[in-house]
């Protein structure tokens, strides 16, 4: 575990008394300055401004101050258009005199809208964010390089879908014990009878859970999880003999244990879904690099510097969906 993660968890475990205190605490706003104080501050500021102006004009008159140098040292105004432009410092021309400096491409690295967009399109589709589309269409950006992050959906790919199918089968296999199947059928029927009690709809799972249950019943004849069905569970118990109940409990305990083991390990054929996604990412990175689409790294951020043509002809694989976004649309960081 990362260390500040441990500290973060530790803060999460601090005593309840501190949490209760914070919840009942009324924060006092600091009062603003009184009117006489504000007037005094304003007068002092005017005096300071006057003194500074006077000092600067004296310097200029004496020739001790280079106005042009001062102006040049001021930060230049940010462009007010929707796209922020900058030049990568590593690509800036040096001060060494050259006869004909080669013009270097500007780099457009930031979108105007700080939107975190996590929707990745369907397989075989390459989408570009709105900000990127606007920047590409802007004639001012002709010949620029665009700094983009590639958002991909490795979880839609064939081997991941296959992995999911295997895993579902693995879990389903656990529930094929006849005792458990009978139990689940009975309890699901009871749950339907009691649905008006809002045991299903009123709980945290709400309508979506109800839909899950209905779909599950339609497909298999019973609902797999008994998580929400404790009331039915108790009713069902009353209809069984103690011996039947014991048999059921032993079977269920075993199945629950197996389920827990399968759930914790989260592996199929020794691989987690994250392993598959990472493998696919790496394969894609290698493929992109071989086509001249190299991933650059800044801290933990991976991005590409691409021309308009490269973006418009982004080499995609049919089994993935992609979205191309400006860096800050994903990270919220503009100056990376």
């Amino acid at each position: 575990m990362e260390m500040n993660e441990k500290l973060f968890d530790a803060v999460g475990m601090i005593g309840g008394r501190h949490i209760e205190e914070a919840r009942s605490f009324e924060v006092k706003k600091e009062k603003g300055r009184s009117l006489p104080m504000r007037l005094a501050y304003a007068a002092a500021a005017c005096l300071a401004l006057f003194a500074a102006g006077f000092g600067i004009s004296r310097l200029i008159n004496r020739g001790g101050f280079n106005v042009n140098g001062f102006a040049a040292s001021l930060p230049s105004a940010e462009p007010t258009e929707t796209v922020f432009l900058t030049v990568n410092p590593t690509l800036q021309p040096t001060d060494e005199p050259t006869a004909e400096p080669t013009p270097l491409p500007r780099i457009v690295y930031a979108g105007s809208k700080r939107i975190i967009d996590s929707d990745v399109p369907e397989r075989g589709v390459v989408q570009r964010s709105l900000a990127l589309e606007e920047a590409l269409a802007d004639p001012e950006n002709e010949g620029c390089l665009f700094a983009v992050i590639i958002s991909m959906s490795p979880w839609q790919c064939d081997d991941k879908l296959e992995w999911e199918e295997k895993r579902t089968a693995q879990i389903r296999e656990l529930y094929t014990d006849p005792i458990i199947v009978e139990f689940l059928k009975d309890v699901t029927a009871l749950a339907y009878e009691n649905a008006e009690k809002a045991i299903i709809a009123g709980m945290a799972g709400g309508e979506s859970l109800k839909r899950d249950i209905e779909a599950s019943v339609e497909a298999r004849g019973y609902y797999m999880s008994d998580l929400y069905l404790h009331a039915e569970y108790d009713i069902w118990k009353e209809t069984k003999s103690p011996e039947e109940w014991e048999v059921f409990l032993a079977a269920k305990k075993y199945i629950d244990y197996q389920y827990l083991v399968a759930d914790i390990s989260g592996t199929v054929d020794g691989k987690t879904s994250m392993d598959i996604m990472n493998e696919n990412w790496e394969k894609e990175e290698t493929r992109w690099a071989s086509l001249g689409y190299e991933l650059l790294e800044q801290g933990q951020i991976k991005y590409m510097l691409l021309t308009k043509e490269q973006i418009l002809n982004f080499p995609f694989e049919e089994q993935y969906g992609y979205k191309l976004l400006f860096v800050d649309e994903v990270t919220g960081i503009q100056d990376f």
Partner: protein, 183 residues
Amino acid sequence: MCDEKLIALFCSRDERAIIETEQEYGRLLRGIARNIAGNEQDAEEVVNDTLLAAWESIPEVRPESLSAYLGSIARRKALNLRKKQAAKKRVSFGLEPFEELNDCIPSPSRVEESLGAKELAELIDKWLDTLGKEDRVLFVERYWECRSVKELARERGISSGRLAKRLFRLRKHLAEHLKKEGY
């Protein structure tokens, strides 16, 4: 409804426990989840998962303070969700309060090797007791609830910069305390 009654509902496997807990602590949990996960949709998912985790763990676990217990579950779930999503995009998950806590680690290797989160929590508890009420609350709001500096500053009627300095001093103070305790 008070914690005792809510816990009693959980213990008797009464489904009202979920609804009542949601009413009592939903706002707090949603706030924490939103601050960490970063959006409403994920926050909702975290709140639901937290309530279910409480349903599954009580009565085996009997929390002294339900808000602290639920909050710690929500924090962990929201952090995991955020990390998972960042991993998908291959970017840093960049949660400010999380990163800031780095300042409080006096000797990284020592903490990593020898100290469990629970022991660290006890040390932090002790340290919180030495603070004034306002600082204690500020620490909890920033690092337990993960609220933004901007929001906390606005509530207090001070600038974000000033509040950030106060937080920095608190972190430094905590780092010194941990060091004094042998870490």
